[in-house]
Amino acid sequence: MTCLRTEICLLNKYSAAANIAFIESKYHIAFNIMNEKELIAKIISGEEQAFRELYRVYGNKIYNTCLGMLQQTEEAEDATQEVFIEVFRSIAAFKGQSSLQTWLYRIAISKCLDVQKKKKAAKRFAFVKSLWGAENELEADKAHFDHPGVLLENKEHARVLFLAISQLPKKQQTAFTLNKMEGLTYAEIAEVMQTTTSAVESLLFRANENLRHSLSDYYKNNIQGGASYLLSLLLIF
């Protein structure tokens, strides 16, 4: 009660909207810390409401991470489903050595990497089949991905950036996605990836370098492509 009164005093002091957000986030964090163990215990005992609460808190975070890694809505939804099914099955084995959030992100990343591996294998198999003259045609390359959360004015550039992100090595891609799309700190990423903060720093540095390199290649080719297209048009007329 006293706590509520102090919050009301705070509301009078500062602007309302900012404080509501502050209080919400404060209570939310407090809820997470206080009830994480309780929540886990309830999920283990099979309470659907507790599982629903877990999904309410982490569902969108996991979905957004999967979407960033897989760059396809359906695949991201499937991976999110797999993550929560895995969580439900193995939450009894969760020892609490890391936070629940870290554990969830870790499962999500490993699921996404599995999906990527399977996709790569399927692509390779289709390529071999096409060499042997089988009827299957080669899978079309990934269409440009539009993330629903990107600002409208940045959509076109983001599309190119996502294409470059998909070509990054897996560790760099993971670190970049967790940092840029989920806003995790270096320490949090290090915990998820089970590595050191300095390793994450170097991964992100290399990811940025590689992205700049592939973006430069992309835009150079596009400019050259556009120029050659113009030249061919001039020659025709």
């Binding site: 569902g59 975070k61 979905y63 999110t80 489903q81 629903p148 959509k155 550039h157 989920e182 430069s216």
Partner: protein, 102 residues
């Protein structure tokens, strides 16, 4: 004016700034629950009495098996001994291949 290569790269690198988190479909939780209910079989509970009866039955069948196997083994060894005795006696009588010499 067309942006330079460097400007385009910078714009792309900054394109994720200010992005918001993508929200999952509102039906996703329902799908998860459906998948879970399909994958997990309904738990089956047995009473202690029933478990005891089952254990006793298994023990009874097992002991019957053991008794049958040991009896069968004993019988076969006896039969083998009898056979060897008959063989020894016949060998004493028919030491040579010549059937006319006794």
């Amino acid at each position: 004016m067309k942006p330079t290569l460097q400007e385009q790269i910078e714009q792309s690198m900054k394109s994720l700034n200010g992005m918001t988190r993508a929200e999952a479909s509102p039906f996703l939780f329902g799908k998860i629950m459906h998948k879970l209910s399909r994958q997990l079989p309904e738990p089956v509970y047995y009473s202690n009495k029933m478990l005891l009866r089952l254990a006793a039955m298994i023990l009874f069948v097992l002991s019957l098996n053991i008794i049958t196997v040991t009896r069968y083994k004993r019988n076969t060894t006896k039969k083998v001994n009898e056979d060897t005795q008959i063989l020894v006696v016949t060998q004493e009588y028919f030491e040579t291949d010549n059937l006319y010499i006794y």
